[in-house]
């Protein structure tokens, strides 16, 4: 059977019916996209990789629950990843708070983390993205980096299209303010 010619929805249906090889194609289609998405939400490549692995594991476990024709498979997959990222961000927040308490108690000053993704602008954008509220960050990443439609983003984030647009507008304006001089310079 030529799995490569099948749509995502057909592939996941096949997988749920026991066609194990269909999953390979799904993984090859989405690994990089999900990784990029997760890195931008989390700001860390290693954690993003863990999230991507966990997301595919959940797809495997719940393949039978995917409702054919109700939502696009990609929307479902991004929603799973986003939920995992939110979970991870909460854990990080708790961990950071705990570390800060320990540091304060032991009077240890940590050096800031070295930037793993290299380029100056990537680091700045990542930092600026991290400063945004999670809802705005997700919408910005899905629209301006993953090029999803407003309707798809609304499905992933369980929000209305109008809400998505206003979050995106706020996110862009905040980032433009923050990175302003730099993006202006880059453009030239």
């Amino acid at each position: 059977m030529k799995y490569r010619e099948l749509s995502d929805e057909e592939l996941i249906y096949c997988y749920a019916s026991g066609e194990v090889r269909a999953f390979d194609i799904i993984v090859s289609r989405y690994t990089q996209r999900l990784f990029r998405f997760s890195v931008r939400l989390l700001g860390d490549a290693q954690t993003a990789e863990d999230v991507v692995q966990e997301a595919f594991l959940r797809v495997h476990m719940h393949a039978g629950r995917y409702k054919y024709g109700v939502a696009k498979f990609s929307t479902w997959l991004y929603r799973i990843s986003r939920n995992l990222c939110i979970e991870e961000l909460r854990k990080q927040k708790r961990r950071k708070a705990r570390e800060a308490e320990i540091d304060a108690a032991q009077e240890i000053v940590h050096e800031p983390d070295t930037e793993s993704l290299g380029a100056e602008f990537d680091a700045m954008l990542r930092k600026a993205l991290e400063a945004l509220p999670e809802e705005q960050r997700t919408v910005f990443v899905l629209r301006d980096m993953e090029h999803m439609t407003y309707e798809e983003i609304a499905n992933v984030t369980h929000a209305r299209v109008g809400t998505v647009k206003s979050r995106l507008n706020r996110a862009r304006n905040a980032l433009a303010e923050e990175l302003g001089p730099y993006v202006g310079r880059r453009r030239k």
């Binding site: 059977m1 010619e5 099948l6 929805e9 057909e10 249906y13 096949c14 019916s17 066609e19 194990v20 269909a22 999953f23 390979d24 993984v27 090859s28 690994t31 990089q32 990784f35 990029r36 890195v39 490549a45 993003a48 990789e49 991507v52 692995q53 595919f56 594991l57 495997h60 476990m61 054919y68 993704l117 602008f121 990537d122 954008l125 910005f140 301006d144 980096m145 647009k165 206003s166 995106l168 507008n169 862009r172 304006n173 980032l175 433009a176 303010e177 990175l179 302003g180 993006v183 202006g184 880059r186 453009r187």
Partner: protein, 183 residues
């Protein structure tokens, strides 16, 4: 500046080119005379360009392989017990076929009809007296059990007939789905 706040909420529509003609002209007029909005829109343009360029982040090599290995491991550990697999192979799978559904429904209906015809042929006197016999039996053992037996028999026969009637539709639907999903 207070006027700019109003226009800031329109930046998205302006960049998406989804403003209507009048609004677009108003905004263009405003931008011409407003350094803040002009600078913001320039920054936004730069931001979108830079974000698109940032799309080249790649995961470490071998991530796909690691994912597939992890899923394969999960699949292996979630394997059903040997007894269940035996039951599945020997009983469930053969039963879960289109032909079995039709054959089972036909056999069931034919058996009931056969029993009915057999009774009529071997004991013809029962036919005209059926209602009498039933009321006699009801009188002997009480009305409840006999009535229950009749109702149960009727439901059973009804379900059989419904199954037989629905089988072709179910088969057609299953085939259609298989074609749609391509596997």
């Amino acid at each position: 500046m207070s006027d700019c706040r109003r226009w800031e909420s329109q930046y998205l529509s302006y960049m998406d080119r989804s403003l209507d003609e009048d609004r677009l002209n108003d905004m263009r007029r405003h931008i011409k005379g407003c350094d803040h909005c002009r600078s913001m829109l320039e920054r936004l343009g730069g931001l979108l360009k830079a974000s698109a360029e940032m799309s080249a982040i790649e995961p470490e090599r071998g991530l796909e392989g690691r994912i597939l290995a992890r899923v394969a491991e999960a699949r292996a550990t979630a394997r059903p017990s040997r007894a269940w697999r035996l039951y599945e192979t020997a009983i469930l799978r053969p039963l879960h076929s289109e032909v079995t559904v039709i054959v089972a429904a036909c056999v069931s209906v034919l058996t009931m009809l056969g029993m009915f015809v057999h009774t009529l042929v071997t004991q013809p006197e029962l036919a005209p007296r059926a209602s009498e016999l039933l009321s006699e039996a009801a009188g002997r053992v009480g009305g409840g059990p006999v009535l229950c037996a009749i109702v149960a028999g009727a439901i059973f026969l009804g379900l059989d007939l419904m199954g037989l009637a629905a089988a072709p539709l179910l088969l057609k639907r299953a085939r259609g789905q298989k074609e749609v999903h391509g596997c």
